[in-house]
C-alpha cells in the first residue's frame, strides 16, 4: 500500500523536515503516526496524500512511484485516498451536505445517487440535524466530523487523518476512532497522526513514531480499549532511526 525508502523532505532551501524515512504499510493495516508537535507528522502525511513529493528517496503508493505520476494520474490516485485535514479545510459557502458530497461530485458521480448516501453518512457521524448548516455556524467538533465524513464518503482505500481528534473531548475522540476501526475492518488502510499518547495507548495498533525527522515503528501497545483492527501489518526499514 505505502512503501517509503530513504525518503527525505525539505521545503525550498530550508532544513530537512524528514530524513531517511523508510517504512512499509500493508493494505488493510491500521497505524498511528505519533510524535511531538513539529516532529514532521503533517509533512509525512502530505507525502502520503501527494501534496508534496520527496526531495530524495523513493515513495511508492498503490505500487506506483509517486514521482513518475502525471497530473491526471495523481488526481485519480488521490480519489483513492481520504484525508482528514488538521484544519478541516471545509468550504464555508457550502452546506455540510455539499461539503461531504464534494469528493463524489469531483469524481463525476451522479447527484441522485449520492444524496441519500451522504445524508446517511452525516447521520453516522452524529450530524443528521445539521446537514444544511454552513461550517462557520458549527462548532469545531462538528466541523471535524464533517471533515471525517468527507474523507470517508468515497470509500477510500487509504485514509489519512491529521489530528482528527484534536477538537473533541475524549469520549467523542474514542467514538471517532471506533468509526475508523469500522472502516478498517471493511478493508481501508488507516494512518492517524496524533500527539495524544493516552488515546494511542487505548488501542492495540502499531505506532509510527516520528522524532527529529526520523521514523521508527513501535509495536502495538496493549489495548486498554476494544481496538481489534488489523494491527502490526507494517515494517520499518533500514534507513530509519529505530
Amino acid at each position: 500500500m505505502i512503501r517509503f525508502e530513504d525518503v527525505a523532505l525539505r521545503y525550498g532551501a530550508g532544513p530537512e523536515i524528514l530524513r531517511q524515512v523508510s517504512f512499509h504499510l500493508e493494505p488493510g493495516s491500521f497505524h498511528f503516526l505519533a510524535g511531538s508537535s513539529g516532529a514532521g507528522k503533517s509533512s509525512l502525511l502530505k507525502l502520503m496524500y501527494l501534496a508534496q513529493r520527496p526531495t530524495s528517496g523513493q515513495a511508492r503508493l498503490f505500487g506506483r512511484d509517486v514521482t513518475t505520476l502525471t497530473r491526471g494520474e495523481t488526481a485519480l490516485m488521490r480519489r483513492r485516498i481520504g484525508v482528514v485535514f488538521q484544519d478541516f479545510r471545509l468550504l464555508d459557502h457550502l452546506t455540510a451536505l455539499e461539503n461531504v458530497a464534494l469528493p463524489l461530485k469531483v469524481s463525476g458521480q451522479r447527484e441522485n445517487k449520492v444524496q441519500q448516501h451522504v445524508a446517511e453518512l452525516l447521520a453516522w457521524v452524529g450530524l443528521a440535524d445539521q446537514i444544511h448548516a454552513y461550517p462557520p455556524t458549527l462548532s469545531g467538533g462538528q466541523q471535524q466530523r464533517i471533515a471525517i465524513a468527507r474523507a470517508v464518503v468515497g470509500r477510500p482505500s487509504l485514509l489519512l487523518a491529521d489530528e482528527p481528534t484534536g477538537n473533541v473531548d475524549d469520549r467523542i475522540a474514542v467514538r471517532l476512532l471506533y468509526l475508523f476501526e469500522e472502516l478498517n475492518k471493511l478493508g481501508t488502510t488507516i494512518v492517524i497522526a496524533t500527539h495524544n499518547e493516552s488515546l494511542v495507548s487505548r488501542f492495540s495498533h502499531p505506532v509510527l513514531s516520528l522524532s527529529g525527522g526520523e521514523v521508527r515503528m513501535r509495536t502495538a501497545p496493549t489495548a486498554a480499549g476494544a481496538g481489534t483492527g488489523s494491527a502490526g501489518r507494517g515494517s520499518v526499514g533500514r534507513g530509519s532511526a529505530a
Binding site: 513529493r53 458530497a101 468527507r150
Partner: protein, 295 residues
C-alpha cells in the same frame, strides 16, 4: 440541488462586479460599429441601384446670353443622345425639378429664375450595353461646348470608399473588443486563481482534475460575459432606435436608413453570444495553462 452550487465562490470576486459592465460597454461599441457598417453598405447599395441605368448631362447656359441659344444646344444634345446606341430615353428636367434638387443647399426661397443654371438632361441607358462614356462626353462637348456628362461613377466610387473605410473601422472595433474581452477575462481568471488558491488546492487533493477546476471558471466567465453582453446589446438597440427616429425627422436623402433586416438583427444578437463563448474559452485555457505549470 446537491451539486447545483459551484465549488469556488467566484461570484464574490471583484471580477463579478466589473466584468459584466466592461463587457456591456464593449458589446455596445461593437454593436454600434456593426450597425454603422450595415447602414453604410445599405446606403451605397441604394445609391448604386438608383443610379445605375441613368446618366446626367448638363448643358450650360449660353455664354453670349443670346435668346434661344441654350434651347438650340439642348435640342442638338438630345438628338445626339437618342442617336446613340444603348440610350433609350432623354428627358430635360423642368425648372421646378432643378429647384427641388437645389433646395437642400440653397433653401426654398432662392430666386432660381435669376441664376444662370445649366439645363439638366436625365438620360436612360441600358446598363447591359453601356456606351463608351469618354467618347460620348467628347461628342456632346463638340456638339455644344461646355456640356458635361456625369455617369455618377466618381461620386459613387467615393461613397464606396467611405463605406469600405467604415466597414474596416467596424471590423477593427469588433476585433479590438474581442481582444479586450480576452485580456480582461485572463486578468479576472488569474485573480480568481490567486484568491481561491486554497480551495483549488483542496479540490486537487480530493481528486479533482484540472479540467474540473477549469469548468468552474468557464461557467463563471460565460455567465458574466453573457449578462454584460445582453445589457450592452439592449443599450445599443435603444441607441439605434433613437438615432433612427432622429434620421426620420431629418428626412434627408443623403443619410443612411437605419432599418435592420431580420438577418442583421440576428447578427447583432450573435454579438453577446460570441463574446460569452470567447470569455468561456479564454477562462478555460487560462486555468489549464496556469494549473499545468504547477508541480
Amino acid at each position: 440541488m446537491l451539486f447545483r452550487r459551484t465549488d469556488l465562490p467566484l461570484d464574490r470576486d471583484p471580477s463579478g462586479r466589473f466584468l459584466p459592465w466592461l463587457v456591456a460597454l464593449m458589446v455596445y461599441l461593437a454593436a454600434l460599429a456593426l450597425v454603422c457598417a450595415m447602414a453604410m453598405a445599405k446606403m451605397v447599395e441604394r445609391w448604386d441601384t438608383g443610379l445605375s441605368g441613368t446618366i446626367t448631362v448638363q448643358v450650360p447656359p449660353s455664354e453670349t446670353g443670346a435668346p434661344g441659344a441654350q434651347e438650340a444646344a439642348i435640342d442638338r444634345i438630345i438628338e445626339l443622345l437618342l442617336d446613340t446606341e444603348a440610350v433609350h430615353s432623354a428627358k430635360v428636367l423642368e425648372p421646378d425639378e432643378i429647384a427641388a434638387l437645389l433646395e437642400p443647399w440653397l433653401g426654398a426661397g432662392a430666386a432660381y429664375g435669376e441664376l444662370p443654371l445649366p439645363a439638366l438632361i436625365s438620360v436612360g441607358i441600358d446598363p447591359a450595353a453601356a456606351p463608351d462614356y469618354q467618347a460620348l462626353a467628347k461628342r456632346l462637348a463638340d456638339a455644344a461646348p461646355g456640356t458635361v456628362l456625369d455617369d455618377h461613377q466618381s461620386w459613387l466610387g467615393q461613397l464606396l470608399d467611405l463605406a469600405r473605410a467604415i466597414e474596416l473601422v467596424a471590423a477593427l472595433i469588433v476585433i479590438l473588443v474581442g481582444a479586450s474581452a480576452v485580456a480582461m477575462v485572463i486578468f479576472a481568471t488569474r485573480m480568481g486563481l490567486a484568491i481561491h488558491g486554497r480551495v483549488i488546492e483542496l479540490l486537487h487533493l480530493i481528486g479533482a482534475q484540472d479540467a474540473y477546476v477549469a469548468r468552474e471558471f468557464e461557467i463563471h466567465a460565460l455567465r458574466l460575459a453573457l449578462r454584460g453582453g445582453i445589457v450592452g446589446l439592449l443599450f445599443a438597440i435603444a441607441t439605434v432606435v433613437l438615432v433612427a427616429r432622429l434620421f426620420e425627422r431629418l428626412d434627408s436623402v443623403l443619410l443612411p436608413a437605419l432599418t435592420l433586416s431580420p438577418i442583421e438583427w440576428a447578427a447583432l444578437a450573435v454579438l453577446p453570444l460570441a463574446i460569452a463563448v470567447v470569455a468561456m474559452l479564454t477562462a478555460r485555457f487560462t486555468v489549464l495553462g496556469n494549473l499545468g505549470r504547477m508541480p
